[in-house]
């Protein structure tokens, strides 16, 4: 809410800055193109693939199997999946089961606050289509109704192996994706 600026400034420094901005924009386009080429892109995607940190949000009962998958026998950390407290430093939302209308609002808020690139795994039948509860008055029938979902993991609840498979599929998707998403 600063004071209104005149449309065209006489200040030479500001004029210079404006033209610089144009040049910086063009330069960054070029840099983006260079980074998005084969060898550099592979390195960046490799780094992204193996540091998928999910947000600490649990929506329903599939969290029990997510817990089991993070635990000693399955240990998701060997895929680089480490549940993390701060959503600003996270890359992934694993939607664990039924999404109520109340939770859907919060999920969207969390997704919007996360830094790009961000990924979504919908785990369990309820997060795909409402599952057992699709009649109910208080749930959203599927995560795709309000979030762009990358991988669906079916099951009620999915076994930890299924979740691991879903994460490997997401890693494959990242391997073949561009460094800068089109926006």
């Amino acid at each position: 809410m600063s004071a209104q600026k005149p449309a065209q400034s006489d200040d030479p420094i500001e004029l210079l800055a404006d033209s610089m901005n144009v040049w910086v924009g063009k330069l960054s386009d070029i840099v983006h193109k260079v980074i998005d080429t084969e060898p550099i892109r592979n390195v960046i995607n490799w780094a992204r693939m193996y540091s998928l940190w999910p947000v600490n949000i649990t929506t329903a009962c599939c969290s029990a199997e997510f817990g089991a998958a993070s635990g000693a026998r399955h240990d998701l950390e060997r895929f680089g999946v480490l549940p993390y407290g701060s959503l600003r430093q996270s890359d992934l939302i694993v939607i664990e089961g039924t999404i109520t209308k109340k939770m859907a609002k919060r999920l969207r808020m969390i997704y919007d606050q996360m830094a790009i690139p961000r990924y979504v795994i919908a785990m369990g039948d309820c997060a795909i289509s409402g599952g057992l509860f699709h009649d109910s008055y208080s749930i959203v029938n599927g995560a795709h109704e309000f979030l762009p979902v990358d991988v669906f993991v079916p099951g009620c609840p999915p076994r930890p192996e299924a979740l691991e498979h879903g994460i490997i599929m997401l890693q494959e998707k990242i391997r073949n994706s561009k460094v800068y998403p089109q926006s």
Binding site: V55, N56, I57, T58, T59, A60, C61, S63, A64, E65, G67, A68, S70, G71, A72, R73, G85, L87, T98, T100, K102, M103, R106, I110, L132, F133, D135, S136, Y137, S138, I139, C156, P157, R159
Partner: protein, 381 residues
């Protein structure tokens, strides 16, 4: 985590009278995206870092199960009523079939009753282990997160060989259970329970005697005996406050009247007591599994029961891992209940959260409320 100052004009640092009660309080909203909240939100009012009031905000997992089971027949409802607490599915399932059997007047055969108890006790251990691992996370003790989840898989394997599913069994049906023991189950179960009891001793050394745990649990979050009773607390929360109430003893169902076990209580009512009640119960359940396998009679596992809810009322209650789980069922003679009220242990213990958190430091909040063993999915239903 978002912070909002409650009285907007008084909350500035230069507030004239800091001694005035309420002048310096701060309202924090913890969750649902928070490592110490789970599937719910806690609205916490703070004075300094002491909690003066805490309100749970449930409903993030409210799925309208009571309405759904009014619309489906009793067999199709079994998976639905298991979902609120899939880490403790068998006990919830037991409450459901018990209410139906009370109305139908069907008594399952003896072997079926023993098999029910077997899966119930395995589930109790699994549920307590899952709870203990999350307790470890809340305390920042990563070993205590990994070990219980690893040992839980021992029992998950057993349950899978018995029922075919890892955690959602739908094993109990009106009239008995779905299938008999697989070959070699008893030997494997005895081996695993004995190993598990040795592991509990190791937990003792690394965790339950660890000052990291004791200094943050002893004397923290006290729930007095009187308060626990009048708030309707149940399960380990009630027993942690010194009340020896356990439905397996008070109103023996299934095969529990023929089994020998103790009800463990602790008198102090703090976080530490509640944790240790869970640990004692795991030992007891482990011993019970061996006892059940030893005493199990031969015979059929299931008796024919009609898919019908006769006219009348029934109140089926069982002791689940988180306390009493009950169904108040009203039948009209159809294949669906007219009304099936679903009251779970966590739902009843929700009232204890505010009582436990009063006077606790904010840093001890996650461990204090989690010591109640409140599973938000089970409470919201």
């Amino acid at each position: 985590m978002t912070t909002t100052d409650k009285p907007a004009q008084e909350s500035t640092l230069g507030s004239p009278s800091p001694d005035e009660p309420g002048a310096q309080t701060l309202t924090l909203s913890v969750g649902p995206q928070h490592s110490g909240s789970g599937h719910m939100r806690l609205i916490v009012e703070l004075d300094g870092d002491i909690i003066i009031n805490a309100e749970p905000d449930p409903g993030y997992v409210h799925r309208g199960i009571e309405k759904i089971i009014e619309l489906r027949n009793i067999i199709r409802s079994i998976p639905v009523i298991e979902r609120p607490s899939i880490i403790d599915a068998s006990n919830l399932n037991h409450a459901w079939v018990k209410a139906i059997e009370e109305l139908q007047g069907v008594e399952p055969p003896a072997r079926g009753q023993y098999l029910r108890c077997l899966l119930n006790e395995m589930n109790r251990i699994m549920s307590h282990l899952y709870w203990l691992s999350i307790y470890g996370v809340f305390l920042g003790h990563t070993t205590m997160f990994m070990w219980p989840l690893g040992d839980r898989e021992l029992f998950i394997d057993l349950a899978e060989s018995l029922t075919g599913a890892r955690i959602t069994y739908s094993y109990l049906v009106p009239g008995g259970v779905r299938r008999d023991l697989p070959q070699g189950f008893a030997e494997e179960a005895i081996k695993r329970t004995e190993y598990f009891e040795k592991r509990l001793d190791e937990y003792e050394n690394i965790f339950f005697k660890n000052p990291l745990f004791t200094s943050r649990a002893k004397g923290v979050g006290v729930l007095s005996r009187q308060r626990a009773i009048e708030l309707g607390a149940t399960g380990p929360t009630l027993r942690g406050s010194g009340v020896d109430a356990d439905l397996r003893k008070d109103e023996p169902y299934a095969a529990y009247s023929e089994l020998d076990f103790k009800v463990h209580t602790r008198p102090d009512g703090d976080s530490y007591s509640r944790v240790m009640v869970h640990v004692d119960e795991m030992r007891e359940s482990s011993q019970l599994i061996r006892q059940i396998l030893e005493k199990m009679p031969s015979g059929p596992v299931r008796r024919k029961a009609p898919i019908v809810v006769p006219r009348g009322e029934a109140y089926g209650r069982v002791e689940s891992a988180r306390g009493e789980c009950s169904f108040y069922m009203i039948g009209e003679g159809g294949d669906k209940p007219y009304r099936a009220r679903y009251i779970t242990g966590s739902y009843r213990n929700m009232a204890a959260i505010s009582a436990v958190l009063q006077g606790v430091r904010l840093a001890d909040m996650p461990t204090s409320w989690w010591s109640i063993d409140y599973w938000p999915v089970e409470a919201d239903r």
